[in-house]
């Protein structure tokens, strides 16, 4: 129980603090850099910058058909584990109760059996993603420790969560504590590695959307 209390208490508080401060630091760190002012006249009839940014954020959700020929696996598998993570994090009833205790709002969840199935699918999808990263010559070349650590710290909460709900491994309280600690590790690492793409995708796509929109070019 001491471990569980620590995980729910000091560990979670600390990791959330690192998460919030780290995310803010990283966002401010890039946004505070000077921006080149573009004095070139925009293409006649081009959309305003804000609209070009929003269009790019949505446009980039689905690759061009020509890039799907070789990128179908990356795209589909990416969607599978992102949706899976979203479902198990936000639609598992104990998670909803936990979030309600923090934020005071709640919503309906999915049956535990469905969550377990989605969790297993998510874990499988993450394992396949890792296997691809370890075997693709391109991915092996461009991968960094950041990629493997980010993968591990995403996989561990899923694996420990599945183990806790299935009552596999140590007794439930211990497994739950390990699950929460794995989430803490995820939160602590989040601002420093590529997990940050959950925020950066808006800026990255938006910036290119503005550049291309100004020129009347298609993204």
């Amino acid at each position: 129980m001491e471990l569980l209390a620590f995980a729910r208490g000091q560990a979670l508080t600390f990791s959330v603090a690192v998460f919030v401060l780290g995310v803010l630091w990283r966002l401010v760190g890039v946004l505070a850099l000077p921006a080149w002012r573009d004095f070139s006249p925009p293409r006649e009839g081009s959309a305003p910058n804000w609209l070009s940014a929003i269009r790019a954020i949505f446009r980039k959700m689905i690759p061009h058909r020509t890039f799907l020929k070789e990128g179908m696996f990356t795209t589909v598998n990416g969607y599978v584990f992102h949706f899976g993570l979203g479902v198990v994090v936000f639609l598992f009833v104990p998670h909803i109760l936990f979030l309600r205790s923090l934020f005071g709002v709640s919503w309906p969840g999915l049956p535990n059996g469905v969550i377990t199935g989605v969790g297993a699918l998510t874990a499988g999808s993450l394992l396949v993603a890792l296997a691809y990263r370890l075997t693709s010559p391109v991915l092996k070349l461009i991968s960094r420790p950041n990629d493997y650590l980010s993968w591990l710290l995403t996989f561990l909460p899923v694996a420990t969560g599945l183990a806790a709900t299935a009552h596999v491994g140590p007794r439930y309280e211990t497994m739950l504590a390990l699950h929460i600690l794995s989430v803490c590790a995820f939160l602590i690492w989040f601002p420093f590695g590529k997990l940050m793409h959950a925020f950066l995708f808006v800026l990255s796509r938006g910036a290119t959307g503005i550049r291309f929109g100004h020129r009347g070019a298609q993204l």
Partner: protein, 435 residues
Amino acid sequence: MTAKTTGSGVAFDAQGDRADAERRDAAMQAFVRDFARTAAIHMESCLRCGMCANACHFYVTTGDPKYTPINKLRPFEQAYHRHVGPFAPIYRLLGLKSNVSIAMLQEWESLIYDGCTLCGRCTLACPMGIDISELIKEARHGMYRAGLVPDRLELMDRTAKAWGSPASPAEDFADIIRETGEANGVPMNVDLPEADYVVTVAPAELTDHTKALSDVARILNKIGVKWTYSTAGFEASNIGYINGDLPLQEKMTRKIIDNAIAVGAHTLILPECGHAYGAARWEAARWYGKKLPLRIIHMTEFLAETVASGKIKLKKMGETTCFHDPCQLARRGGVTEAPRAVLKALGLDLKEFEDHGELAWCCGGGGGVVSNVRADPLRFKAFSIKRKQVEDAHTQHFVTACGQCRITLALGAKHDKWDQKVESLLEIVADHLED
């Protein structure tokens, strides 16, 4: 200048005899100094998904992972995280990001100059929307300052500084214009003190494609506007933009803009050249820090608006064609409809490639690659994509709107012993003017 080889057998050129550490520091200072918000956002955002690989003609035709676009930025990614990024002080304190070594920069020289045409197809493939080709352009700023540029490109850089053009001395320009006019029977205007339109040229037009010089004149004479070529500002291709030599980029830009303003032009017409469009249409105002008092348009846009206005009528050809979209014009410039409108006005039935417009495959010679003889074998491999597209199209004509693309494609065809003519949109228009 000396051609050398890295420990792993990769050829590189180095200019000057500076110490390695000095070169490295120069590269890093130039790279870091220019860093702005958008570039930083993009440096932070890579997922390492590899989607960019299959967008690159060099990766697709060689199968070598080193040509994965994001990999071409590796030294500069390291430099960004060590010197610029939000956690740079922590990385330095903990020794997590080492300083980029000169060996690494030497190793990457061929990836940044030979293995990238700045075509930007990878930008369209990236799910995060990272503008990789723009980052490689930034990386070239560092490489240039380090004196790690392919010798052939550095030679063009020095020639442009001395002559005002990498192709011909400025003092010969007026003679070339007059002689071309005489040879083709077209009255030419050069060095008029006042004009509404100033026409600029690309190096290929001073050597291989001189007919283009009189073709523009024929059209401008036909519509009866006041126009001129100018010795004081004739060269629109910008080798500084390609090499990463920012002072030269500014100098060459200012030459054509200052001259156009001095003669009172309301429109500066860029030649059939892709990167001239990038350097002038989108970046010229950067050097002035304000909006410019004139329009800058590509030849293709000029042709399209002239046809649309009814100022020229074209004879209908009634034949089929395919069209190669120059990357800097279409993908990175947003000019995809204009050439198609002109082809339609010519009565040419356009058979589109499967990937066209913003998704077009590069000719393989952009970003200075066609001039960098060291990259010839790589360029010829990339050409196989375009050859297949053209063969599959089964058309009577193969047209493009960039002289550098045209040269690249013609060289590729010659290398393959493939009897395929590459035509200029401008020249076809000039040849089909109604009386």
